[in-house]
């Protein structure tokens, strides 16, 4: 396949079309506006629907409707826009409808800024909206992965009848890299997926399919919750994905996801030149979190360092996975600032007990140790 040069946002949008998405509902917001911009041009070319809704709330409820009718559908936004969508996301999860939701994160809280952040990890993985529900959350770290994971997300959403979130950030969305776009999916393949549950009209041959998330009888609501619980357990056992980088002999384990993981990789390369045995575990699915791998790796290392563009959110899942076996340290930048390779390298040197004379002063950022052993 030919390589093309594309912005992350555009590659994601094109990939959605190739995956068979024909219904996009959204509302512009930096740093993801290239997604609706691109789809406003492309959707009419493939006979799809692009609709700029009057608000994020409207857009997610349009997704709810399109998904209920059996369509491949997507919405995208950034951080505060996702906050507005959360009620709808909870409804979609309760109604067990497949869809793809993209969050290209920016700095918060509040209106925040427009520079990249990873401060919506909790929102994405711990619910955000009300009730016990889970999103399957993918964290791409390159333009290629933005394209590939968006493409797969539609299949996974259909397979589990569950909303899937692509969690990127402003840097990933705005940057360009070479990318091989996936093949166009055959329409018939998408159509043959079992969607007998969809609200497509009964033609008086079956009882109507109704999507209603109101259960006034607590026994019935518990039944729904138990069914969801079983589904989430199945997803946790089958869909965990993670990448390991130089972990084979590592005695210092870094954990980072998305674009931050790439900054960490470069810092690890530098540390390795000094003889420090650092390695990286990069969760690709944030939920389900790669608990078993984190636990297994924690047995071979002296300490763990998580690096995030947040005050420390991923670190909580790391701590839950490894218990109190080793100290878990944190380094992060917040508010739209990006950790530098040099700063991460410096942190690695500190925890490896090496003096790094290149950096006499600590770079800005948040540092702490989560679980003192």
């Amino acid at each position: 396949m030919e390589k093309v040069l594309m912005k992350g946002n555009e590659a994601l949008a094109e990939s959605a079309i190739r995956a068979g998405c024909r219904y996009y509902f959204g509302y512009p917001i930096t740093p993801q506006s290239e997604i609706p911009e691109y789809l406003s041009k492309r959707m009419p070319q493939v006979g799809g629907v692009f609709l700029q809704a009057e608000s994020e709330v409207a857009a997610i409820n349009m997704v709810y409707g399109a998904a209920a009718a059996g369509a491949r559908t997507m919405t995208s936004s950034s951080s505060l826009g996702i906050s507005l969508k959360l009620e709808g996301i909870s409804y979609i999860a309760a109604a067990e409808l497949p869809c793809v939701i993209v969050n290209i994160m920016r700095g918060g809280p509040g209106l925040g800024g427009i520079q990249p952040a990873q401060s919506d990890y909790f929102q994405a993985t711990k619910g955000g909206g009300h009730g016990d529900y889970r999103l399957i959350v993918y964290a791409p770290s390159s333009v290629q992965e933005l394209a590939d994971m968006t493409y797969q997300a539609f299949d996974i959403a259909d397979m589990y009848r569950n909303p899937v979130m692509i969690l990127g950030d402003g840097l990933l969305g705005q940057m360009m890299e070479q990318v091989e776009l996936p093949e166009f999916k055959e329409n018939k393949l998408i159509k043959t997926a079992d969607k007998s549950w969809a609200a497509t009209g009964t033609k008086e041959s079956r009882p109507p399919n109704i999507f209603n998330t109101l259960y006034l009888d607590p026994e019935k609501l518990e039944e729904l919750n138990l069914a969801l619980f079983e589904k989430y357990k199945a997803i946790e056992s089958r869909e965990v994905r993670a990448e390991e980088y130089m972990t084979a002999d590592a005695d210092l384990l870094l954990v980072a996801y998305g674009i931050t993981a790439r900054i960490v990789k470069t810092a690890i390369d530098e540390a390795r030149k000094k003889g420090i045995k650092a390695g990286l575990m990069r969760p690709i699915t944030l939920w389900p979190f790669p608990k078993a791998l984190a636990n297994q790796l924690s047995a071979q290392v002296k300490c763990i360092l998580t690096v995030e563009m947040s005050q420390g959110q991923l670190i909580e899942d790391v701590c839950l996975a490894v218990g109190r076996r080793v100290p878990v340290h944190f380094y992060g930048r917040v508010g739209g600032m990006i950790p530098s390779v040099e700063a991460v390298y410096h942190e690695i040197c500190r925890y490896a007990g090496m003096k790094d004379d290149a950096l006499l002063e600590l770079d800005a950022g948040i540092r702490y140790t989560y679980a003192e052993v």
Partner: protein, 184 residues
């Protein structure tokens, strides 16, 4: 080969498109490439800068905090980024509007009067292509043919008539960097 480049100047000087041509050409040469723009509530005349990487290896951080090549199109950019250049790094300056010398003496600075050359060529807006020619000549980071193909790809549509002008500007930059713009 691992080119980690920062290009900086005023908005409107063609920073982003120049950087885009380099990574496009790099991709055609089979390299790994990344391009990160500065984005924000900015406007024409404000500061614009771009991080790019062209590498034989898989690219880790696409954010360039320690460039090995720095291209500055105006004085504020020189002041802002000179410190970040690695020792022995390459500095390319637009000496049409930067009269100041770089403060460091452990780098390889080149001054090139891109604005003057562009005016001679008949279009001030080709200044970025002249700088691009100088950069490619000095680093051989990407092949000339790939740059020409990239220019055709980018300008091939509505601005077709600008293709040869831009290629001429590129060649002028490549030629001039040795002839008139000796190392400062």
């Amino acid at each position: 080969m691992d080119q980690r480049v920062v290009i900086s100047g005023f908005g409107g000087q063609g920073i982003m498109s120049m950087a885009q041509l380099i990574v496009y050409a790099g991709m055609m040469d089979g390299k790994n490439v990344s391009w990160v723009p500065s984005y924000g509530p900015e406007m024409r005349g404000g500061t614009a800068y771009c991080n790019l990487v062209v590498s034989d290896m898989k690219i880790g951080s696409p954010v360039v905090t320690k460039p090995n090549t720095l291209i500055v199109m105006n004085l504020p950019s020189l002041i802002k980024f000179e410190k970040s250049l690695v020792p022995n790094g390459l500095l390319l300056m637009n000496s049409s509007i930067i009269s100041q010398r770089p403060a460091r003496n452990d780098i390889r600075p080149y001054g090139i009067k891109i604005n003057d050359l562009a005016v001679e060529l008949g279009n001030l807006r080709t200044a970025n292509m002249i700088m691009l020619g100088a950069y490619v000549e000095l680093t051989k980071a990407v092949s000339d043919d790939s740059v020409f193909a990239s220019i055709k790809k980018v300008l091939g549509g509505a601005k077709k008539e600008l293709v040869s002008l831009n290629i001429d500007a590129f060649k002028l930059g490549a030629k001039s960097v040795h002839a008139m713009c000796a190392k400062i």
